[in-house]
Amino acid sequence: MIPIPAFLVVAGILFGIGAIGFLVRRNVIVALMSIELMLNAVNLTFVAFNRVHAEAHTGQVFAFFNIAVAAAEAAVGLAIVLSFFRLRRTVRSDAGDLLKN
């Protein structure tokens, strides 16, 4: 059996990749994907921890809800990106420079 810490380490690495991807990539679509990656890392963490605290299914339930919420979030996010693309013809986040101090 694979030890639990392995899952956690993988989740941590995934989360890190997602976070770094979000911060360094200027493409909004990639940023969205990075966020999804982070959420999935969280799901993995929850499910892995659920093995430690096996007396209840809290972690698994949490993961279910995360999936649903992530889908809704992604739907709205893509819609926003789409409307941004329609107006500005780009999906680069540094093109958003109209709102400044």
Binding site: F49, V76, R88, L98
Partner: protein, 503 residues
Amino acid sequence: MSLWFALSPLLILSAGGLLLMLADAFSEKHTDLALGAFMTFASAGIFAVALWIMGGVPAEVAKLVAPWIVLDKFTLFFMATLCLGGALSSLLAGGYLPEHGLDRGEFYALMILSAIGGVLLVAAGDFLALFIGLETMSIGVYAMTSFRRTNPRSAEGGMKYYLLGSFAAAIMLYGFALMYGATGTTALAGIRDALASGSFGYARDPSRLTTVIIAMAMILVGLAFKISAVPFHMWTPDAYQGAPTPATAFMSVVVKAAAVATAMRVLLVAFGDKFSSSWGAGWPPVVAGLAVATMVVANLIAIRQENVKRMLAYSSIAHAGYLLIGLVAAWGHGDPSASRNGKAAILFYLLQYTVTQAGAFGALILCGSKGKEAVSYEDLAGLGRRNPAVALPFTLFLLSLAGIPPMSGFFGKLFIFQSAIEGGFTWLAVIGLLNSVLAAFYYLRVLVFLYMKEPQPGAVEAVPMKSGYVTAAMVLASALVLYFGLMPGRSLDMAISAAQSLM
């Protein structure tokens, strides 16, 4: 009392939101949706108040939904506050959207559904409910922010808000996961017990300590993003400026109140144990630092703004700073009286802030019309003479934001600072007070333009609009600002009794 009645505000909001959605889909004209939304918020608020008057939800009913949803007086207070903010915002929307060609019924449905998220958020006694509430609220607000489909600023503001917001949510969620791993539960009270219990033993298992601290830091970051505390405030001015003004009002009122409420629950309940809430090793010094940074930075940047909406956004960040002072005071070195007063001060502050800030944005809406929205200071020039009926409530709200008695904002600030001094944070209170002087400067600047300047010759003048909805909101908000200002006693007592129920 049945559970149905105990949950009635939430159910009314849900039913109202779904009905409005269907009404939007099946009807041709959308004008009355604002009234529908207002009625939904109003009736939900009335049910919350009714529950309060009946002495709150009895324990045996409340425990049916515990620990996921906590039906204490704290929740009821916030339900009423959020409904008030929602009601005012929906009135604003009813005037603003048709005027600016945005009259699409989704807006009201989004607003109500988002408010459901807010209510769930303040009621959440478990990370799961908290997360669902947070996301429901945020998703609605993301959509509302980018509601002006043809306006690149709106899309840009919405995109930035969305990206940073969901990034923060992911970080916070990872914090939840780690906290769950460390304690084996996601219930707030359960986490507190686990952290406080001897069996958990920080000393015995240092790896858990590290996990807990990392988790706490991540959750703090997520909360600070939602409250828009410096340095996690970058999204706020952009989102506020880009969003249609009623959505801005909704964000700065409902979202902020719900975020602060959940911060109170998480920090004071889940992390309320001796260790994680100690000055030496817990969150209070971090929050105090955030408070100072938030007030100072936001006020200094706000002074430089040329756009009134953006200025109000920064001012809203600054107000978050005052609220964070209240949060530190609510911890209050564990002194029960200071702690109670600190919590109550935050509640009262949010109640009056809801009215004031919604009113201020409403007045800003009223200052522009189809031809030109009032956004810059110049657009407001001479309004005091051209349209005193708009300028006067605007003045009231600005004075309240600046904290000049006898407006409600003064009492809000006063009680925050009072509880801070009582909790032994005189230095925080003094910094806060000096910041109020700084803040008065930019609020006064609006007054200068309203009353003491005339528009540049040849400039396009923003013509004030006329709308029964917005006028009604103005009247309601002005009356409440003066009521909370002159007779804060009753609402303060309510805030105190709500504060006492938070544990």
